[in-house]
Amino acid sequence: MIDQPLDSLLHQPVRTRLAAYIAARGEATFSELKQALDATDGNLEAHVKKLVAAAYLEAIKSQGHGRPQTLYRLTPLGLQAFHDYVAELQRLLPELSGDETESTASLTRTGMTWKAT
């Protein structure tokens, strides 16, 4: 079995969690990300910028009544990269994927199916 490198952008705790949260929620504002990840403004901003620069994340400016909002959403490239990352993670943990442990079972329950590469 050939080891494929894990995506260095996503293989970072904050960015992994950020991608997972948006993948499940669809889109989120900066405030919601901050609250969900329990991160500081500066820290979160740095990670968001990296994901936006890699075109994993897109920022959508929303105009309407009240103040303008910026919503962050995973791009198709970002979503695919996230799927590939989780699949690779599961492949690297054979006993986890084989035994359907709590983690992987829970991942399956959330409705996200991972394509093994």
């Binding site: 499940a24 669809g26 989120a28 405030s31 009240g66 103040r67 993670l89 943990l93 986890l96 959330t110």
Partner: protein
């Protein structure tokens, strides 16, 4: 890049799983949502039957469509106001409406539309006795489904609402009781949900049971107080007239109000006007003579029936609170009698 250890990989997967769960549980119902929908529903239950009543609009179709129009418009306004206020509140907090919440909101609208359609159907084809119970169950399902994707205690609230609705359907109390329970449920219970659903995010059976009892008390006590007030109205203090005195014209010489007692065994002509598409009457139907099984007190105001009645020693209740049960229509054919149709039903004023 390889994992340093299986434990770190497992931790990473668990972190992903936690964030996926967190992202999926993204529905949050605003307090004003409960207030707007609850108050609107309570006001509609209280106002519409009194505003667009049998007396004001004797034609059934006209009354039905007018009621439907008012109800639909009020619910539409409630929905638009709720959507705008929610969007404004979210923007103020720099929050968004998640994808799943937008989809479940559509389901909520479908359930509300279903309640309106059922109301129309029951007005046309009967079964209105179950309307409030069904309305409670359907709104409860709406709240419960929201709760499946939320960290608020919405599944608890929805389950309580469904339970109350099912109890109403199963026990089928007087319409007056059903009406006030529904008014109290929407007018008090919904705002109470608004205050309670954020109280705890951890499952705690004792706390949930306590909140359930508190919520049921908040809904049922005011409802039964209103029913008691309604039933022990001023009619007991009104002058009482025997049937003979009423027939002798005592009402015209007396005051504006009176309670006339129709004794048990009184003959009451019942006019049945049956129309249809296949069968139409060929002559003026004769009234069917029926007999009262117990004394009936009738409240009169200005010589007219006021709408409130009392059977025997029971409580005062609306004279419109009746039900037609066990409809049966059976056709038969014989050379001697020809074709005939036997229609039966049970007309109940008491439960």
């Amino acid at each position: 890049m390889n994992l340093n250890s299986q434990s770190s990989g497992s931790a990473q997967l668990q972190a992903i799983q936690a964030m996926l769960s967190s992202g999926h549980a993204s529905i949050r119902l605003e307090r004003h949502t409960f207030m707007i929908w609850g108050m609107t529903a309570a006001a509609l239950i209280l106002v519409v039957p009194r505003l667009i009543s049998l007396e004001s609009f004797p034609d059934h179709s006209e009354r039905l469509w007018l009621q439907t129009l008012v109800i639909s418009m009020a619910l539409l306004v409630a929905g638009v106001v709720d959507a705008r206020w929610t969007a404004r509140a979210r923007r103020r907090r720099d929050e968004s409406l998640s994808f799943i919440q937008r989809q479940i909101t559509k389901l909520w609208w479908l359930l509300i539309a279903l309640v309106v359609v059922i109301d129309i159907g029951m007005s046309l084809y009967g079964g209105g006795y179950f309307f409030y119970g069904i309305a409670l169950v359907l709104t409860g399902i709406g709240i419960y489904v929201h709760g499946l994707f939320s960290r608020q205690m919405l599944t608890w609230g929805g389950a309580l609402q469904i339970l109350l609705g099912l109890t109403m359907i199963a026990t089928s109390p007087d319409m007056t009781v059903q009406e006030w329970v529904a008014v109290s449920d929407f007018g008090i219970g919904f705002p109470a949900f608004a205050l309670m659903v954020d109280r705890t995010q951890q499952r705690n059976p004792v706390r949930e049971l306590s909140l359930s009892l508190l919520w049921l008390s908040l809904v049922l006590i005011p409802a039964f107080v209103m029913v008691m007030l309604f039933q022990t109205h001023q009619y007991d203090d009104w002058p009482k007239l025997t049937w003979d005195a009423y027939v002798d014209g005592a009402m015209s010489t007396g005051g504006d109000t009176a309670v006339v007692t129709l004794p048990a065994g009184s003959l009451v002509p019942v006019s049945l006007a049956i129309t249809g598409d296949l069968l139409v009457p060929v002559e003026q139907p004769q009234p069917l003579m029926m007999m009262t099984t117990k004394p009936v007190d009738l409240a009169l105001e200005q010589g007219e029936l006021q709408g409130m009645t009392r059977f025997g020693e029971g409580d005062w209740r609306s004279g419109y609170d009746y039900r037609i049960e066990r409809w049966e229509a059976k056709g038969s054919l014989s050379p001697s009698r020809g074709a005939s149709l036997d229609v039966r039903f049970n007309l109940c004023f008491e439960r």
